[in-house]
Structure formats: structure tokens, C-alpha cells
């Protein structure tokens, strides 16, 4: 009998363990760094750190950046529109999670 050894790939949970730089977030969300800076100034993303070089994005930053990138690209929303849509989507998600399953 042959035995195969599987190497299980260990990942890092982005929301808990990963603190991304603006370069990493830009790469992962396929968004130019200057647009990410605009999102930060508009409150769409709230990194720790004071200057763009020191920024560390954690928690749900990646998810928010991905959604913001989709909405910007597909619906041509401007930055305040993206900020509003993200807040409303969060609220809908919370309300939906409270609904009992049928």
C-alpha cells in the first residue's frame, strides 16, 4: 500500500492576523494607491497609523476595499456614493442576519 502525505497549506486569517500596508492592500484589491488614500480621507477605510507609509489596514479593510472597487468600477459611483453604499450594505447585512431562517 502506498501512503501519500498531503501537505496542508496553512493560511492566515486576514481579519485577525494580517495588517496590510497600502501597497499590499492596493495589490490585493486591485486598486491604485491614490484611490485608497481618497477612501481613507472619506472614511471608507480606517487604517491605524498617521501617514500613508505607516498605515496598517486590518479587520474588514480588505472586504470593504474589494466591495468599494467593484462599486466604483461597475456602477461608476463616486467616493461619497461608495461610502454611503458600504454603510447601507453593512446595515442590510446586520438586519438580514437577524432574520430567522424559514
Amino acid at each position: 500500500m502506498t501512503q501519500t502525505n498531503i501537505t496542508w497549506i496553512e493560511g492566515a486569517v486576514v481579519e485577525n492576523e494580517v495588517h496590510m500596508t497600502i501597497v499590499e492592500l492596493s495589490h490585493a484589491s486591485r486598486t491604485p494607491e491614490d484611490l485608497i488614500m481618497t477612501w481613507v480621507s472619506e472614511g471608507v477605510l480606517s487604517p491605524a497609523g498617521s501617514s500613508p507609509q505607516d498605515w496598517r489596514f486590518s479587520g474588514d479593510s480588505l472586504r470593504r476595499a474589494k466591495t468599494a472597487a467593484h462599486l466604483t468600477h461597475d456602477l461608476e459611483l463616486n467616493v461619497p456614493g461608495v461610502a454611503l453604499a458600504l454603510d447601507l450594505l453593512d446595515e442590510i447585512a446586520q438586519l438580514r442576519a437577524r432574520l430567522p431562517r424559514d
Binding site: G11, V18, D74
Partner: protein, 326 residues
């Protein structure tokens, strides 16, 4: 191959103006956008809308497409005639219909119909125009995919083999989809909508650049008895009227596979949540498991059952509609 009626997809007349087409697209894109619309089928609808718009907003593509005339209907078998687009010029920049991270798929999944007419677009290169310019080193593209796991995997941790459909680009720039299997450790305590980053499992690097990363967005399979809100888990506990009134002890199955005894106090009211502290999704600060009682009313089918309800009636001076009196 099936014909696609792009006018019908966008719900516009064949003579629609550019402004009408744009407005119809915007309206439908907002409605079916997969970040906004969580219904099954919305994503597929969104892709079709995007593909239709990519053709109809482009004067050259639209003119070429219009040559097929209005006799073609959605879903009819179709083969493009040879040299059908002779005399038309359009910039073959392709079209990326999908999004990274939707449904385990990757971008660039336009329909066979679209590809046969307008060719397959060059695969997007993560905003870096990352062609292999000599002497340039870039990190490979980061890839995104969604995976579905069981709630129990988040409680216990798990090892899972997942299949992803990855775009692969050959030397001539042609993109095809390949299935790729990955053996992944699912860490205990992961929650829905969180991302697992697998370093170096994304697209290959350019030059000496390192490979990109793969991000797996976690989603739970819907569960028959649990629902999940962040790290808290809810389970409905149906009680008989006498159990709720007199109190009892019930066994509660946990998603981890164990069983807990829960004491139901006398006078329990439907909907009043009971918290099992720390029995939600585990982590340094674990979530809670909430038992949500409901009252199940047994039907009165036999004579003795009817009598039992009549005994109730006599025993209680109870009017649940007292407050409805004008």
C-alpha cells in the same frame, strides 16, 4: 452555441439611443450587482447585463452585432457566418465580466457567444500591466475565491481539499480555465466573510518577482438548525406549552458535535433568548450560543386531546386579547 439577444437582456428596443442603453444598464447593474443583491442567480444576471452593455455601448461592436438582424432570438442555435465582421473595426480590448472572488470563479468569463464574435479579452493583470518586460520583476497577481465550509469546521478546525477554477494564460496570451486542487487547513475560529490568505498561491511572479497570494473568502453552508451572526450562533428550541410553563431540561446539540443540557426555567416565554456563554464560534473571546425558545402547540385530534384543551380552558381565566378592547 446559443444566440444572445443583448437588446432583450437590457430591456431596450433595437433603436435605443446610447443614453437609453446606458440608463437601462445602470438601473439593472444596480439591481443585480452581486455586492448588493444576494439572491441566487443575481451574479449570472449581472454578468449577462455587463456583456450586453459591453457590446451595445461600443458603436463598432454594436454595428457589427446589428448585422445579425432582429430575427435572431435569445437561446437560438447560432454559428457566426464566415467573415461576418468584415469591414468593421473595433478595438479588441475584450471585456471582463466577472469579479475576483465571486462564486469561486475568476474574472474573464464572458459567454462563448461573445468570444466567438469579439474574441477573448486579454487577461487583466492586476493593474500593473504586468507583461514580462525584460529585466522587470513584479509580484504575481493576487487571486480571490469564495469557499463554502461547514459551521462545524469553524468550531473544530478542519482540513479540506478545495477545487478552484483558475485562469491560466499561455505564451500567446490566450486564457483558459484550469481546475486546481488545494489542500487547505481551515483554522478553528474562522468566521463568515473573513478571508484566509495563502501566501504565494496566487498568480506566478514576473521575472524574479514572487508569486501573488490567494485570498479565500469564507462562507458557511446554510445550516438546517443553526444560524450565525458574526461569532454568535442561534438555535431554535421548540417547547411544549407545559414544558414552557413548568420548566424542563432539554438537550442542545452544539455545532462542535457535543450535547449540552439546558435548564428551561418555569414560565419561559417564546423568543426570550437563553445564552450559553462561550459556546459560539471559538476564539480568544469566543462567541455565544443562543437558544431561542418557541412554543409548539400540539394539534387536538382525538377526543381525549380535545378534553385536555377544554380542561385548560376551565382552569385558566385567560384572555390573550384583553388589550384589544377599544
Amino acid at each position: 452555441m446559443k444566440f444572445r439577444d443583448y437588446y432583450e437582456t437590457l430591456g431596450v428596443a433595437r433603436g435605443a439611443t446610447e443614453a437609453e442603453i446606458k440608463s437601462a444598464y445602470r438601473k439593472m447593474a444596480r439591481k443585480y450587482h452581486p455586492d448588493v443583491n444576494k439572491e441566487a442567480g443575481a451574479e449570472e444576471q449581472f454578468k449577462q447585463i455587463g456583456e450586453a452593455y459591453a457590446v451595445l455601448k461600443d458603436t463598432e461592436k454594436r454595428a457589427a452585432y446589428d448585422r445579425f438582424g432582429e430575427n435572431w432570438k435569445n437561446g437560438q442555435d447560432f454559428t457566426p457566418p464566415p467573415n461576418w465582421n468584415e469591414g468593421f473595426e473595433y478595438s479588441n480590448d475584450g471585456y471582463s465580466g466577472g469579479h475576483p472572488g465571486y462564486g469561486g470563479g475568476f474574472e474573464g468569463d464572458q459567454s462563448e457567444f461573445f468570444e466567438s464574435l469579439f474574441g477573448r479579452g486579454k487577461h487583466r493583470q492586476g493593474g500593473r500591466g504586468g507583461n514580462s518586460r525584460q529585466g522587470m520583476n513584479f509580484k504575481g497577481q493576487d487571486h480571490h475565491a469564495k469557499i463554502l465550509i461547514d459551521l462545524a469546521d469553524a468550531y473544530n478546525g478542519a482540513k479540506r481539499t478545495i477545487s478552484l477554477h483558475m485562469p491560466v494564460q499561455d505564451a500567446s496570451g490566450h486564457v483558459s480555465t484550469q481546475e486546481r486542487k488545494l489542500d487547505v487547513s481551515i483554522p478553528k475560529g474562522i468566521k463568515a466573510a473573513q478571508n484566509l490568505r495563502l501566501s504565494g498561491q496566487g498568480g506566478p511572479g514576473v521575472g524574479e518577482g514572487p508569486a501573488g497570494d490567494l485570498y479565500l473568502e469564507i462562507e458557511f453552508h446554510p445550516h438546517a438548525i443553526y444560524r450565525v451572526e458574526g461569532k454568535d450562533v442561534f438555535i431554535d428550541i421548540p417547547l411544549t406549552p407545559w414544558e414552557a410553563a413548568l420548566g424542563t431540561t432539554v438537550n442542545i446539540p452544539t455545532p462542535a458535535g457535543s450535547t449540552l443540557e439546558l435548564k428551561i426555567p418555569a414560565g419561559t416565554v417564546a423568543g426570550r433568548k437563553m445564552r450559553l456563554k462561550g459556546k459560539g464560534i471559538p476564539s480568544a473571546e469566543p462567541g455565544d450560543l443562543y437558544a431561542v425558545p418557541s412554543i409548539a402547540l400540539p394539534p387536538a385530534n382525538t377526543e381525549s386531546q380535545k378534553e385536555a384543551y377544554q380542561t385548560f380552558e376551565k382552569a385558566f381565566d385567560f384572555n390573550p386579547r384583553a388589550h384589544l378592547k377599544g
